[in-house]
């Protein structure tokens, strides 16, 4: 359980995060979406007590993070896979964390195995790791204390497709066993496949949040015709609000029936007509965060 209430962070007059509130419930995966610089990492650092908020509060498992006696046993955190001492071996980094938390050293081997770092990799210094290996090590660190909550910032960065698929399975399984997951990403597809709920942030503010299906449902119909230009004119004439999709079709804010009727009346040949689904989410993401992506957090 993660509760974020009206979190705000200002650096001087510049608000990086403004009035952000959301909840992550046990048994769910919450995708925290937004373009780079939208304030995702700052929000997560505030949740974890690393950055003091200008105002607002965040609690994990009912308490502010900094008041947790031994947070590693309750909350697994991966904020930056590169933030590891280059001179330590992967196994050593885990051993230090295990000793700090008072976790049995058997757990080190167990999580190394779980994230797919073999004995050779574990003995190598982190400086020689690829980004993908660092992400796996970071996940191992997060899972070490057998927590019930996971907070992961861009965990799929640097993972290969097989790794991303594996991680999805891991997070899904974690949530299905009653765990709470908050993971951030700037890539829609990555989150869409695993998240139950979405929190979309742009320019430091939450622009949409809710169940994934709920957010997807209202996104309209995807339509494609042999003559795209004629389709555009027809839709405009019928008063249907259409936006050009990323891959040639149009996303229309109307039911498939209405779109099909308009096309039939104009005698157009449709090649595709379906609920927008993921394409709609992409559209939503692009619209909601339009303009926000250029506002990189300046600090």
């Amino acid at each position: 359980m993660i509760a974020v209430d009206h979190l705000t962070k200002r650096y001087g007059p510049h608000a990086v995060v403004e009035d952000v509130s959301f909840r992550c419930e046990p048994g769910t995966v919450t995708g925290f979406l937004g373009p780079n610089g939208a304030g995702k990492s700052t929000t997560m650092r505030m949740i974890c007590g690393l950055t003091p908020p200008t105002s607002g509060t965040a609690t994990v498992a009912g308490r502010p993070f900094r008041q947790l006696p031994n947070p590693g046993r309750e909350i697994g955190v991966l904020l930056d896979a590169s933030a590891q001492h280059a001179g330590r071996t992967g196994r050593e980094a885990l051993t230090l964390a295990a000793r700090t938390q008072g976790v049995d050293s058997d757990r080190v081997a167990a999580v190394l195995d779980l994230v797919g770092l073999n004995a050779v990799a574990a003995r190598r210094r982190v400086g020689a790791y690829s980004l993908g290996m660092r992400q796996r090590l970071g996940l191992a660190l997060a899972l070490l204390g057998d927590p019930r909550v996971l907070i992961l910032d861009e965990p799929a960065n640097g993972l290969d497709p097989e790794g991303i698929y594996w991680m999805r399975g891991l997070l899904r399984d974690f949530a299905d066993r009653g765990g709470t997951v908050l993971l951030s990403s700037h890539l829609l597809r990555e989150v869409e496949a695993v998240a139950d709920r979405l929190v979309v942030i742009g320019g430091g503010r939450i622009v949409a949040q809710g169940g994934k299906d709920e957010l997807l449902a209202g996104t309209g119909t995807l339509v494609r015709a042999r003559d795209q230009h004629a389709l555009r004119l027809t839709l405009d004439r019928a008063g249907l609000d259409a936006t050009a999709g990323t891959d040639g079709g149009f996303v229309v804010r109307a039911e498939a029936g209405a779109v099909g009727q308009a096309a039939a009346d104009a005698g157009l040949v449709l090649t595709e007509l379906r609920p927008a689904g993921s394409g709609g989410l992409e559209q939503l993401f692009l619209t909601l965060t339009a303009g926000a992506s250029t506002k990189e957090a300046v600090r």
Binding site: R23, G72, A86, T100, G211
Partner: protein, 259 residues
């Protein structure tokens, strides 16, 4: 669009906060688990040995005693111990491991206390190394025709301990205050030189320097006799160069954003 359900009651966690002893153990481990850290410690040991070797050749036979091997070995070690103190703190920031460290132990003051404890133990261990090196070389001196006397002014051992602890804590204080490895090391190493230059140029600074320049106030600790006045000067200089940086640095590190 927000859906909220009643938060489930979280069962109280049986987990307890890590003890300070456990954290100190972790911090001690961090001093030796990287190549840089290991080599720093090895270098400290090697320098003590190298100095003793030189003495074996240059000292007159009668002067080759336990005490005369022990006292000078403290000086080169005291030069490198502050670097150990600095690195133990600043590495967390330069290598960005503070992100993990402070996520696992959000009460940062406990981490910093554990770090100070760890480097303090390292300073005490260095005195044992000095004693061991002195013992080995006393034996060597006896074997090679030196006096090899075992006499030792016992007061010089606690003095040595204070000397090395002050050195390492001064480094840690600079590290904590500046939170930047090169800056802290350069500042620390330049300080005595700056004192020498300034008190050479400005007559009015000469008396304050006797109370504030640690390179002169700490000097008596390398001997077995320290007068009350010397203790007083030492205390004043350590207050300024150890206690104040540590306090200000702690205040800064507790508040600083970790990213």
């Amino acid at each position: 669009m927000t859906t909220t359900t009643e938060p489930r009651v979280v069962t109280p966690s049986p987990v307890t906060a890590p003890s300070l002893a456990r954290l100190t153990g972790v911090e001690l481990r961090k001093l030796v688990d990287t190549r840089a850290g290991r080599w720093l410690l090895i270098t400290i040991g090697l320098i003590a040995v190298a100095l003793a070797v030189v003495q074996l050749f240059v000292l007159d036979d009668v002067q080759q005693t336990f005490q005369n091997f022990f006292d000078p070995s403290l000086l080169p070690i005291s030069l490198l111990l502050p670097v150990l103190g600095i690195l133990s703190i600043t590495a967390e920031w330069s290598q960005r491991t503070a992100l993990t460290t402070f996520t696992l132990t959000p009460r940062r003051e406990r981490v910093i206390l554990a770090k100070l404890g760890a480097v303090l133990l390292a300073a005490l261990a260095s005195v044992l190394v000095s004693l061991a090196v002195a013992a080995v070389f006393t034996l060597l001196a006896r074997a090679t025709g030196g006096a090899g006397g075992w006499d030792l002014e016992w007061a010089s051992v606690p003095h040595a301990a204070v000397f090395q602890i002050a050195s390492v804590l001064m480094g840690a204080g600079f590290g904590l205050l500046l939170l930047n490895t090169p800056l802290a090391i350069v500042t620390y190493l330049l300080l005595p030189t700056v004192w020498t230059i300034l008190s050479g140029l400005i007559r009015a600074l000469r008396e304050p320097a006797r109370w504030l320049d640690t390179s002169s106030t700490m000097q008596p600790l390398v001997t077995s006799e320290v007068t009350a006045l010397q203790w007083g000067r030492l205390a004043v200089s350590l207050l300024v160069w150890v206690a104040v940086p540590l306090a200000a640095g702690l205040w800064r590190a507790l508040r600083r954003e970790v990213s």
